[in-house]
């Protein structure tokens, strides 16, 4: 019995192992980003160029996988949803510099690596939402406000260890220095209505339920909730506040892409990157996801547009990424998640 099973199994292993990196007209993508958000864009790309996009998505271990595979890695392009991962990839020397005028024209300088190792694709604002019923308009106007004692027991956020919260804390460190940022985080922690739990959407839900009155979320979740019949009432219960409009502007993070160091399908990879920074793809990002396109002149989704124009924090994202480890340790020091 053993032999009858093992022989075909080994044969199958051999067949499955035939290298696919030689196949023509393909581009291979490692994605930290969920495929349902980018798949429609890839489908468009395949339709207009005939190049097939192969994707594998995982949140953990992509960098290690890429590093272990080394020069034989099939991956051409990596997608991420946070500046942190992009700079990690570059620091690990897993990316290559791409000098390309199409990309440079489509993507503003502060949204890409100066040496061309990564490019931003969309940007997202970390906004404050407040209960329409219980918080008066204008009562909260900055991230710094959130640490004030008057909001004790009123605020909800997700875990202080999540990449989006870590990035915000890192930006606070970049602006105010470690000591002041820690004071802020401790103040915010003491204002929390409950132990941090759930994702950004569940914070809005908590406001609807009266658990808390103020929350920190990424802006496109508001957009997504408005289009979901079950979640729309949550979104309707809150008002959107773009923080720090009278000072440095609202904290922004990016989703982005990088070409791998040993990309086997370099030309196709470049075509894909150009396509994604182009008008059609950028429009899809804006319309389907409610994100801010990096390319100038792309119309916003209607409900996103309704929130109006706002001032963005143009701080150097690489600097922010550099403070991530410190921000994560800071969350431990103030026992943010306790």
């Amino acid at each position: 019995m053993n032999k009858t099973i093992t022989a075909p199994f080994l044969l199958g292993m051999l067949f499955a192992a035939i290298p696919w990196s030689y196949a023509a007209d393909e581009v291979n993508v490692y994605s930290y980003r969920k495929p349902q958000l980018i798949q429609p864009v890839f489908d468009e790309f395949t339709q207009s160029t005939g190049i097939r996009v192969n994707v594998v998505f995982a949140k953990k271990g992509m960098l290690e996988k890429l590093r272990s595979e080394g020069m034989n890695s099939p991956a051409d392009v990596v997608f991420t949803v946070d500046i942190g991962r992009l700079s990690d990839l570059k620091n690990a020397e897993l990316t290559q510099s791409v000098r390309n005028t199409v990309l440079d024209n489509n993507i503003p300088a502060y949204m890409r690596d100066p040496e061309g190792h990564w490019y931003g694709l969309t940007s997202r604002a970390r906004i404050i939402v407040t209960s329409k019923d219980r918080i008066s308009e204008g009562a909260v106007s900055s991230y710094e406000d959130l640490a004030e004692p008057r909001f004790k027991g009123l605020i909800c956020t997700r875990s202080g260890k999540h990449a989006y919260m870590v990035a915000l804390t890192a930006a606070m460190i970049a602006h105010h220095g470690i000591a002041e940022a820690q004071q802020w985080l401790a103040g915010l922690k003491s204002n929390l209505a409950r132990k941090p739990e759930g994702n950004d959407r569940s914070q809005v839900k908590a406001i609807k339920q009266g658990v808390c009155d103020i929350a920190l979320i990424n802006h496109y979740y508001m957009y997504k909730m408005m289009t979901d019949p079950k979640q729309k009432p949550w979104a309707d219960a809150v008002r959107v506040v773009f923080p720090n409009q009278n000072s440095r502007g609202t904290h922004m993070n990016i989703s982005g892409m990088a070409m791998t160091k040993y990309a086997p399908n370099k030309d196709h990879a470049l075509k894909l990157m150009e396509f994604l920074s182009g008008e059609g793809a950028q429009q899809m990002y804006a319309q389907v996801n409610g994100e801010y396109a990096v390319k100038q002149g792309i119309p916003l989704a209607d409900s996103v547009k309704a929130w109006g124009h706002f001032k963005r924090d143009h701080i150097n994202l690489i600097e922010v990424a550099g403070f991530r480890a410190e921000a994560s340790r800071m969350a431990d020091r103030v026992a943010y998640d306790d």
Partner: protein, 551 residues
């Protein structure tokens, strides 16, 4: 232990299996020597006490809960007669097919503020806001213990039931003849005999608990696993994370050690008789309904409630979910799980039998080493697999480049082979544990008799052992199959391009609190889990009829 001639291939094979299985763990051990910075001063002064406390409380809670449910239900269904006993006997296995993260999402939907339970209470009592009344928060330690207990107790149930069924009724008769009550017989005779099975069941459930990330993350219960991912991904310190993984491994070694210690003190074999329907005690009056209730509640809470909710969601979103892609995902899941379960059982038989016929220290240690993979969180194990596998691939590639001028590229990494290999390494402990427990109950006199008859080890295994331990082997295969259907973190990282399984498909939606959209997938995972359950219960029923006929 027995010594036989010609055990060489068995020993060598076992050591090879152990080395392959230990490869990722060794890779992680190696990583632990190269941390980006020393994390311990920071961790010890901040989050470590909390991580440890939460981990211990969670494991203790789940351990108590799975033993209570698993032992009581398995004892009742195997030794008593009460209403719906035959149905409950297999129904009790079903919660195993429900992934912990899915049940966590579902119960949160049910019991949170906006869920039907609290909405109903508010309607009745006229409350409005969450501040107006107290309701236990499902997203808490208590919630995590209850829900994990509900889906993990079948490990104990399955292995304990096999133990109860395999024990000789004569022992129980003797106990009762000597004037012991039924309860005392259970406590002093049945329970000690079933202990290896129960202990392995609890150990498996606890390892699963230790490794879980999805549920504890969703419930904001910060365990060592949470700390590990934080150090790895936020502090960008893989070496530090590997060190935490090694600490968790120590936890597991302690679990395994305790179990071995317990088993060492009692060596017992049985050769005559199995429990059959004739030996069951007929419960009367309210006792029979109490037995029914004890067995029905875990099935209701761990299976029927989640499945009804999933079915409801699946119907609402059917048109969005049901397409040709979906059928591919299902086939992928079934194929990977089937291949994994077959390999696991084959390897586990090899290892357990080698241990039985040689009994030398090398083989014993190899068997322990082969079980290490289960002790590492899936995502970490996946990294542990990627590193040596890619190194082998690159080595082969380099060899071919320099001698033949051609590049072979990556042969194994990024194929279903790599994925299946990882699942095998991850779940080998389950099959080894289950099959060893079955072997331990087969008397060594059978081996001796076979040798006297001049049979070689392989023939002895085929002719004598396999028929005796068949249900144990099937149980092991079943658990691996179902576990593999649910496996998520390793699958995410190691699957080939464009390869989705039902578990990855469900996860993509569920992690965004959109479980409804992927309910059909979750339902299929559960239903696919039913197939082996049905096969298993049929086989057990058949072997019981056979025993009855031969007696």
């Amino acid at each position: 232990m027995l010594t036989t001639t010609n055990t060489g291939p068995w020993q060598t094979g076992t050591i090879c299996i152990a080395l392959v299985a230990a490869l990722p763990v060794l890779a992680i051990g190696w990583l632990a020597f190269f941390p980006a910075e020393n994390i311990w001063p920071h961790l010890v002064s901040t989050a470590l006490p909390r991580y440890l406390r939460n981990t211990l409380v969670l494991m203790a809670g789940v351990g108590v809960l799975v033993s209570l449910i698993g032992v009581s239900t398995s004892y009742l269904v195997s030794t008593c007669i009460f209403p719906f006993r035959t149905q409950l006997e297999w129904l009790l296995l079903l919660p195993l097919a429900v992934p912990a993260y899915v049940i966590a999402y579902l119960y949160t939907d049910l019991l949170e503020f906006a869920g039907p339970v609290q909405t109903g209470l508010r309607g009745i009592f006229g409350w409005e806001l969450a501040k107006d009344y107290w309701f236990p928060n499902i997203r808490s330690m208590g919630g995590a213990i209850s829900l994990m207990g509900l889906v993990l107790y079948p490990y104990v149930y399955l292995l304990a039931r096999t133990s109860f069924l395999e024990q000789s009724p004569h022992l129980l008769d003797v106990s009762r003849l000597m004037g012991r009550s039924q309860f005392k017989t259970f406590l002093f005779v049945s329970l000690p005999i079933a202990r290896p099975g129960i202990a392995i069941g609890i150990a498996l459930a606890l390892m699963e608990t230790l490794n879980d990330f999805g549920t504890v993350d969703f419930f904001a219960v910060h365990t060592l696993t949470a700390g590990l991912f934080d150090v790895w991904l936020n502090m960008n310190n893989l070496g530090g994370a590997a060190q935490i993984a090694l600490i968790m491994l120590t936890f597991v070694l302690l679990l395994i050690g305790l179990e071995l210690l317990g088993r060492k003190r009692t060596g017992f074999y049985q050769s005559v008789g199995r429990f059959t329907a004739r030996d069951r005690i007929k419960l009367k009056g309210c006792r029979k309904w109490a037995a029914f209730t004890i067995c029905f509640i875990p099935v209701l809470a761990g299976f029927f409630i989640p499945v009804v909710m999933l079915a409801g969601y699946a119907m609402t979103y059917f048109h969005q979910s049901w397409n040709s892609q979906f059928r591919d995902y299902a086939m992928n899941s079934l194929w990977v799980s089937f291949a994994t379960a077959s390999c696991c059982v084959f390897m586990a038989l090899w290892v357990s039998y080698a241990k039985r016929i040689t009994g030398n220290g090398w083989v014993n240690n190899a068997a322990r080493l082969a079980s290490m993979g289960y002790a590492v969180p899936g995502a970490v194990l996946a990294v542990g697999v990627v590193i040596p596998l890619a190194a082998i691939d690159n080595g082969v590639d380099g060899f071919f480049r320099s001698y033949f001028g051609i590049s072979t590229g990556l042969l194994l990494s990024g194929t279903t082979c790599a994925l299946i290999l990882t699942c095998v390494i991850r779940f080998l402990a389950i099959s080894i544990g289950g099959i060893q427990a079955s072997f331990s109950k087969v008397s060594t006199s059978i081996d001796m008799a076979a040798r006297t008859l001049g049979h070689a080890p392989l023939k002895t295994l085929r002719l004598f052992h396999l028929p005796l331990i068949k249900s144990g082997v099937l149980s092991a295969a079943l658990i691996v199959f179902v576990d593999c259907m649910k496996e998520l973190p390793a699958t995410l990282l190691l699957r080939p391009f464009n390869f989705e399984t039902l578990a990855t498909h469900v996860y993509l939606f569920a992690s965004d609190e959109m479980i409804e959209q992927s309910a059909l997938g979750a339902l299929f995972i559960v239903l696919a889990g039913l197939i082996p359950v049905i096969v298993l219960s049929k086989t057990i029923a058949y072997s019981q009829t056979l025993t009855r006929q031969t007696e």
